[in-house]
Symmetry: C3
Subunit: 373 residues, 3 copies
């Protein structure tokens, strides 16, 4: 049984990573669920193809884009945006079997998504509402980390914020009160939503270093985190702080919106796309840069402990985790994941994952024009 | 069948490697027999715990010592010196199942030992007599090497000094006479001792470069080596040289004491702790430094050939070694090892290696105060 | 079933790599078909022995040559040029079982060959005619590349020059006409020859950058390639170009001879020995250096795409290559290879590959004196 769901949109790149008309040898490629995928821009939007020439297996990303087509850099086979081979050296017409798999691909608020399951089930309504990645109201900086760990360990991390008190003591956390607080956990009930809503608040804690950069709170603050965590591994969070109840002088407030998503590269490695926005017009470029640097530093703290955890687990294949009350959200998400994976592998609902379809069923390629540079 | 005996004291560190009150992220950890172990100093002596939090598997060595306790750096679980979890965020009392394995641990003449088998059988009388590591009469420098090889290949090396003539031609050896000499090999017969005694002598050989640093011999010398090699892989050796019989002028003498021990890290890697002492008051600090440098150079010669041997063997899984007369001691030791390993895995004598005991049976933590800085 | 034929001469080194009387630790060693082999010069020619001491498996290449003998650097066993142990420390006479495998070895036109199959079948008439490696008429520079790929992927590359148009656009190729041309492919029919003859020509193409260094063609040229590709993976090629038919002014001509051979190191790595000669007296030392640099640059282009292909294939064990007409030669060669491998493993024709023969059957050691320095 795999460790991931297939019928999902997975982020493969930030919009700015897919450039127009890349020169030879610079075609964008990234591996998702163990499958290398090449993505390039066409006149109609985007094309996402298996990054492996059907002829002798060379990566197409070693070739070059020619108009809307992609040419293999080994023997020169030319593929159209749907993966059909339209020219091969010395042949009048390439055989129909000469084609590579194409993936539904969509660009939405500066994230580029590929659909990894049955193309016929690709559903645009399942795209997450990552609005702050692309809005005049929010200031964001795109972030990316590569992990050499199973993506589920990072899901675990994002579903239990008690680690803020220990892992992020000097960055995002700053108080053991956060770990003590009991989060409110609910299942998302809207149709098509698959995930959890988690809410945590603490009444009186010191303002963490990251908040002080936005507003110099003079006393303790009330803090809150409110997020959805949805399949395949996406966090959409509003969070913030304001002066604690009996502080009548300080009127400041901090409000943040964060979009984070995990894309398994392989069973043992993960792409992590993230950003945390603050309101536009709050502070200047220096603040924005320092907020992003703080976030990256905090996410490196996560990566350090999670990578160490992964190495530790790799040495002890029989180790059983010990569930405690603080693991409620992550346990529920792991159960949801297991159910969805099992459902995709039940005899009734077979997911089509053809390795060389004669022709892709359909290709979605919506290109959302970015609102802002 | 494993390649090691469990009911033994294994050296995990030199005393100076385990510091008091280590800052965050600097808690000492080393892997022994495939098990990562964290060691820290407490008010009562030492604590050695499994370096894997029972909660979600993060290494405890990423956390910090708080008084006599150790706190996990991921979600903040707090463990006492016997491995019981005494606090977890947001819980009045952690469940009894929340605990990590603890190991009997002992500090003896600047070596820190852990007992890897059944704690009830931990036996202080089995500690080796590594006196020169901690004595006013001897000058020593602590040495450590990491090998990417099975520890038994290094045992082999230490049990056959004929390699001195070839591997250490320019350092410890200096003459093919050493390889020609037939060593005297006896089984250690005292109760509780498990190993061999090996004695080798050569009547007339040039003084090796290492000896000449202590005493400038004017002619050939008589050399001798007299050592015990005991389980799990510890060499305790007196050795030396003096002018050959008919030299009536030179009255010099060299006397050395060496303590060396091998601790398997995994089946394919080894920790090697070593020192070779000369008599205090003999020479100055410069001599001591140059003697140690010579020893390290010689042990690098061993590491070079043994690592090459290990790589060669890894390429030829069917290779059978060809026993020659010079292999008598190492053959006997390998047989002893095989017998002891088999005994630990016979149905009658089951060794307890619980991965998560409710409570450790007992913890030995004797702290020998070093005589000298 | 292995991926290679055993009863073949494999190039293990360029002549200049095997020096006389190497100092300690510098004895030449290279792995062929997974077997590390030590090669050294003796008074009678060459000796090629298994690079693994029969005593405890240390590599003999860590030892030293003493006259015509090779001494192990671990315990000092001494082997003669046929692999028999003639001395061991403290023994009057080593046992007859103390010996290492020896390989038929031959030096021919600056290539040093070892025979990897049954020594009784070693056949000098099977040596390839790599004359331009060692001739006053040709100027050559020896080349070597190490690949971390199955050697058959490189055979494929050399058997289909349509890749010149794409991989070598800026070096050896320069025109898509090359890929369009249909090569003439014939089986080599002389007795003892096992391989293919491939001829490709293009009537009118621009002169490639590499040719322009030899002769500044003023218009388009006629180009041709004529090569034998024989077991185990050797290319012997004449190639060249001259002004296209209707060019009556330019009388220039380029003629090249190239010798290239692939020796599997393991199933997943390969030694690649190559050179491309031009006629002596054509151009100067600067031309020679620039021709060689261009060749190395082109071969790095091959290595780049083939290594990427190998990684791509490693990720997709079920991938099936799609044969196109341009693959005819490489398909035929792969079939020949499969037939020869199967024949060597049929019950009737068992190939002897003793791991420790009592005495090698015979050793061929022909030392061709180089004609030129």
């Amino acid at each position: 049984m795999p460790t991931w769901v297939r019928n999902c949109w997975y982020v493969i790149a930030w919009s700015h990573e897919i450039t127009y008309a890349p020169p030879k040898g610079q075609v964008f490629s990234r591996t998702v669920l163990g499958e290398p995928i090449v993505v390039y821009r066409t006149s109609a939007g985007l094309s996402a193809l298996a990054d492996r020439c059907c002829h002798r297996g060379a990566p197409l990303s070693k070739g070059r884009v020619e108009g809307d087509h992609l040419r293999c850099g080994y023997h020169g086979l030319l593929f159209d945006q749907r993966g059909a081979c339209v020219a091969a050296p010395g042949m009048a017409a390439p055989p129909r079997a000469a084609c590579v798999k194409s993936y539904p691909v969509v660009e939405h608020n500066r994230w580029v998504f590929v659909w990894m399951g049955d193309p016929a089930q690709a559903d645009l309504t399942q795209l997450p509402n990552n609005y702050s990645c692309c809005s005049v109201d929010w200031h964001y900086e795109p972030g990316y980390l590569h992990y050499d760990t199973d993506y589920r360990l990072i899901c675990d991390n994002l579903l239990d914020f008690s680690h803020l008190s220990y892992v992020h003591e000097a960055t995002l956390g700053g108080s053991t009160e956060i770990a003590q607080a009991k989060p409110e956990i609910t299942n998302l009930s809207q149709p098509g939503q698959r995930g959890l809503r988690v809410r945590r608040e603490v009444a009186r804690v010191p303002s963490p270093p990251s908040y002080q950069r936005i507003h110099r709170f003079e006393g303790e603050i009330y803090r809150w985190w409110d997020y959805d965590f949805v399949l395949p591994g996406t966090l959409l969070m509003r969070s913030g702080g304001r002066p604690a109840a009996n502080n009548t002088v300080d009127r400041g407030e901090v409000e943040l919106h964060s979009c984070q998503t995990l894309t398994p590269e392989t069973e043992h490695s993960t792409h992590y796309f993230f950003q945390q926005s603050h309101r536009s017009g709050m502070g200047d470029a220096e603040l924005a840069a320092s907020m992003h640097a703080m976030l990256v530093r905090a996410f490196d703290e996560d990566k350090d402990i999670i990578s160490a955890q992964a190495q530790s687990l790799a040495m002890a294949p029989d180790f059983q985790m010990l569930p405690l009350h603080l693991d409620r959200a992550l346990q529920q998400f792991r159960q949801l994941l297991a159910r969805e994976i099992a459902a995709e592998h039940s005899p009734a609902v077979e997911v089509l994952t053809p390795t060389r379809p004669v022709h892709p069923v359909r290709t979605i390629a919506v290109h959302t024009e970015p609102l802002l540079k």
